[in-house]
Subunit: 216 residues, 2 copies
Amino acid sequence: MPTSTWTRLSPVRRERVLVAAMDEFGTHGYSTGSLNVIAREAGVAKGSLFQYFEGKLDLFAYVAEQTSLRVYGAMQPWLDGYDGSTEFSRYLTDALEAWLDYFARHPLERGVTAATNMELDPAVRNAVRVPVRDIYLAGLRPLVERAVETGDLRKGADIDALLSLLLVLLPHFALAAHTPGLEGPVRLAGEHPEVRRANIARLIGPVLADFVPKEP
Amino acid sequence: MPTSTWTRLSPVRRERVLVAAMDEFGTHGYSTGSLNVIAREAGVAKGSLFQYFEGKLDLFAYVAEQTSLRVYGAMQPWLDGYDGSTEFSRYLTDALEAWLDYFARHPLERGVTAATNMELDPAVRNAVRVPVRDIYLAGLRPLVERAVETGDLRKGADIDALLSLLLVLLPHFALAAHTPGLEGPVRLAGEHPEVRRANIARLIGPVLADFVPKEP
DNA sequence: CCTTCCTGTGACCACCCGGTCACATGACCG
DNA sequence: CGGTCATGTGACCGGGTGGTCACAGGAAGG
């Protein structure tokens, strides 16, 4: 948790520090990220960082939390906007396209998401990855449950299984296009938007097939 | 690539260095892993490491390659053993159970696999993750193609899509049970083997549903 | 005016890093 | 024996790390 000094800070100074930290941690990860660099890029003395946060881990946890809130906020219209008026697999393809676009256009958030997902140290992961997963779950579960209620997903569908699969696929989709070695034969960084959209459908379609109602 | 000195080394000494490096990199990852620790744990002078490898990255790449070969070798019976005599989803569930067991019983290989998958630095990923993905693909594609030939998977199934999904799910399955924040609601670290097996089927079943022949 | 409190600062600390290199050891060979 | 070569060693190097702390500046309030 940030100190009370941090909360009293001028918004511009806060933003400068936050952006510098997102950039550094997002580019180099937690352990390799440097507080010296963050302070320099933010135009702030290193000592100041320790007046705002308890230490490196505290700062990283704050950065991860703020980032996931930004991402969550950007996707909120999609989470709220599902009303069963379109087929669920069509809706999900649209949402994933927006999801990919968001990370393509927000490299800072993408970097921090990558750093959060790829952190190895269990202590750091517990401080950072576990809370983020719970934020994802809190957003996705109501959506899926609503889709089952409206009959857009099959009654009796294994909701937990679908959520588990989405929790694997969402970060993958967000990062695969920009992370060497993550992409399989079906590419998500294709030049043409139409190709990319078709490929999203190729990947998510089969996963959903067992969850949608069977055609009579 | 290791130096010629390395190849001339006594097997015991090679193994001591390899194990120490797997342990250190597997526990702390590439950038945080320490050559000092590796040398100490292997009972070898630090200078010797630089006679065996060009530097830290060369050693890590070697460790990653050897590890993926060990893993590949352990799964080879499964890759070769598929003969279409059992339903494909049943076969894959069995294979994934063996996959999970292997990593549960081989913490060194699991650690290195995690470090390989979670490395953030693009230069390191290109040296390490991309080759490993190609090894996976080279093992999986023939298997899937064979299953389509035997009719165990639907004719005209989108093989590339299935491979892409497997490339996401396999490392996830290997690591989720031991990595905080990776597991979704359907847990793979369940105490009872039967529960774990059922959960594997809950996750892989829906993914395969669209690829198997439709029941008449 | 002085005092008090909050905030900002960067030199400084102990520590660890990857990498180097001058030297020791010892096997092999003429 | 002496000479050569491959190998092993660890002190040493420059550099970067997270974190600390004595001090400076300035606003508020008496």
